[in-house]
Symmetry: C2
Subunit: 158 residues, 2 copies
């Protein structure tokens, strides 16, 4: 169970944008510098986020990237899902081993586990917005703990 590089960098770039004063954006170069990644790589990540409608871009000399919505309206769940292949069928196509299709295609004891896992993760991350992540670590930590305690993840109730 791991976070991919794109997910990590995507989240970080968005936090940078969320820290900007209202109406001000950042260029790829600036984002790259602030996150310690190359401009090219930042470009790739932001392009995906742009396609997903999470950021909007402007070309030209006054161009750059801005959040498409206020940070409080962008959830971490939404961000992560931009980069992932959340489809369960897709999962079963991989992991087919040396067979053409997964040997458990018809009846799989693991699929329910993955379902619960996906639901749980989605549920937890959908409660966390970008706005909550722009502060210092200790503060973010405190707030998230509170959030988590107030609304425990009853993932499967949906």
């Amino acid at each position: 169970m791991r976070i991919t590089a794109q997910e990590e960098y995507g989240l970080r770039c968005l936090i940078q944008l969320a820290r900007q004063p209202d109406g001000q954006g950042l260029t790829l170069k600036q984002i790259g510098e602030r996150e310690g990644i190359s401009t090219a790589n930042a470009g790739k990540v932001l392009w995906l986020l742009s396609n997903a409608g999470i950021v909007k871009s402007a070309r030209g000399i006054k161009g750059g990237y801005m959040l498409a919505r206020p940070p409080a309206q962008i959830t971490v769940s939404e961000i992560i899902s931009v980069f992932e292949n959340a489809d369960l069928e897709e999962h079963c196509k991989n992991f087919s081993g040396i067979q053409e299709v997964c040997i458990h295609n018809a009846d799989c004891g693991i699929r329910p586990v993955l379902q619960i896992l996906n639901e749980t993760v989605r549920q937890v991350l959908s409660q966390i917005t970008l706005a909550q992540l722009v502060h210092h670590e200790c503060e973010v930590s405190q707030r998230l703990f509170q959030l988590q305690r107030a609304a425990p993840a009853a993932a499967m109730s949906a």
Copy 2:
């Protein structure tokens, strides 16, 4: 956010072992056949599980693998952790971009998110044992849903 190949295959191989009658094991060849993966690959996975003390192995002509404990005493959480690098510091070492160390090493808004995520996932998966996964998919699904509803993941209470 993804499950790695080793985690998937590890889980599947263990379910096969859990389905065996008490006291009977399976050889690598048998496990590979039943899971549609190569013997070599099964060998690698089972070796890791053996190191972790989840299965025990026997060489020679009567050899093979067996669960080291009853299936009801082996949690999915424990299995997954065999294959993953659950350390948060390790996470920060990767994702350092073009820098030597991550630019947010001292103060990172993402770390709390990962903490909560890890805790939650661990908590959910620690409630699921191998014994619950040996049945048919629909049955497994039903039981896990019940479990989840009965004990929602109040992950951060620990």
